[in-house]
């Protein structure tokens, strides 16, 4: 279908917006970058749909088959699912400055056991704990990545030079906990790709680094073993580029930040983290490979 669209005849990307019938008939397409262009494209598609014979509208029989396995199948229903917003931050270090667009979005998944590990072993007020290293490595290497402008690359565990996330129980009111987090991380990639053969193998070495401070708060209900609120903020400095993240080169540097919060119920709430296919490398054996 896409081969008949705006990039027809060329090799490579099929990026863009397509309007099609359930039968697979292409009605309109384009790589619209402006709202007005996208609107015009959709109107063209709707007009083509209106004159499409009924027989040409019906669902393609191939779409009646069984859904293939998808990463969303591993969504941690009983665990902790976070959505991440990442954004460029002002160089002056003043959070009251105007926001710098764009922002981007990612998700992070943790099983119920993973989620419990964000808390100290003992849950009395004043108790402290540290996120186990393998879990911290997954959190950092796969999610604290510069993808503000485009597709970033994960860090390998060996590229996690230093970091930890500590927790402290602030309050335990009949099993309802209030928790604070603080931590830091420094990751540096300056050699060959270390994460093996997968879809992310870059075409060259991309030296890059990120150093962040982390802080946050959360609420946890011991009866349901669920976080009822969760906020983790990370701010700091990034340097370098990757193949597709829109940075200019190895010396491209600046401030950036991340906010992790509970996913909000919605049609896209179960979309998988961008590097979910690497989760198992970081100990998440509960993720089913596809």
């Amino acid at each position: 279908m896409a081969d008949g669209g705006h990039y027809q005849g060329s090799e490579g990307t099929r990026q863009g917006i397509y309007v099609l019938s359930p039968s697979g008939r292409l009605l309109a397409s384009g790589n619209a970058l402006r709202p007005g262009e996208a609107l015009a494209l959709m109107d063209r598609g709707l007009n083509a749909w209106k004159v499409l014979p009924w027989a040409a509208r019906e669902l393609d029989p191939r779409a009646r088959g069984t859904q293939v396995a998808r990463w969303e199948d591993s969504f941690p229903e009983a665990g902790l699912a976070l959505r991440i917003t990442l954004r460029e931050l002002p160089a002056n270090g003043d959070p009251s400055s105007d926001r710098r667009p764009p922002a981007n979005r990612n998700h992070a998944w943790f099983s119920r056991d993973d989620a419990r590990a964000f808390l100290p072993e003992q849950l009395a007020a004043g108790e402290r704990g540290t996120l186990p290293h393998e879990l911290f490595a997954r959190l950092a290497c796969l999610h604290l990545v510069d993808a503000v402008h485009g597709q970033g690359l994960p860090f390998a565990p060996e590229e996690l030079e230093a970091g930890e996330l500590s927790s402290k129980i602030l309050e335990n009111e009949a099993g309802r906990l209030r928790v604070s987090f603080d931590g830091f991380v420094r990751m540096v990639a300056k050699g060959p790709w270390l994460l093996g053969a997968n879809d992310w193998v870059p075409n060259a070495e991309y030296p890059r680094s990120i150093a962040l401070k982390l802080a946050g708060t959360a609420s946890y209900d011991t009866a349901t073993e669920r976080f009822t609120s969760f906020e983790l903020i990370a701010v700091g400095h990034r340097r370098g580029r990757t193949q597709f993240n829109g940075r200019s080169g190895p010396d491209d540097a600046g401030e950036m930040g991340f906010v992790f919060e509970l996913v909000r119920e919605g049609p896209s709430s179960k979309v998988s983290p961008s590097f979910v296919d690497l989760y198992r490398k970081f100990g998440a054996t509960w993720v089913t490979d596809i």
């Binding site: 359930p22 790589n31 996208a38 959709m42 669902l59 959070p95 597709q151 370098g240 580029r241």
Partner: protein, 115 residues
């Protein structure tokens, strides 16, 4: 996924008119393709500036300020109100059931981590 070097979509799907949106079923689909030539580097200077945020203390209060700065305001999140399907197949099926065409948004790489 290995996307090609393409200008990324900067517009938000939600900024389109409601009259057009009402007539469509939505599919969000990540597209895989071969990578394009990139630029390697031998730079080894990866140090952090002493003026960087990472050198500043991150307290509960400043973390809250940065949270409010980083999170998108509601007016930038209108696109999330569109009932996107992460799976093309479910979008196709719903379109057939509703007797509507599909709006398929194909992005470079993963739909997360690449706006």
């Amino acid at each position: 996924m290995k996307p090609r070097c393409e200008p990324k979509l900067e517009s938000r799907a939600g900024s389109s008119s409601r009259s057009s949106l009402a007539g469509l079923t939505f599919g969000l689909f990540a597209f895989s393709a071969l990578g394009c030539a990139g630029v390697g580097s031998t730079a080894d200077e990866l140090s952090v500036s002493s003026e960087s945020l990472v050198q500043q203390e991150l307290t509960e209060d400043t973390a809250r300020l940065w949270r409010d700065h980083i999170l998108a305001p509601d007016e930038e999140l209108e696109w999330e109100k569109i009932p996107w399907h992460p799976s093309f197949l479910t979008g196709l099926r719903e379109a057939a059931r509703l007797e509507k065409p599909v709006l398929l948004w194909v992005m470079n790489g993963h739909p997360l981590g690449c706006t």
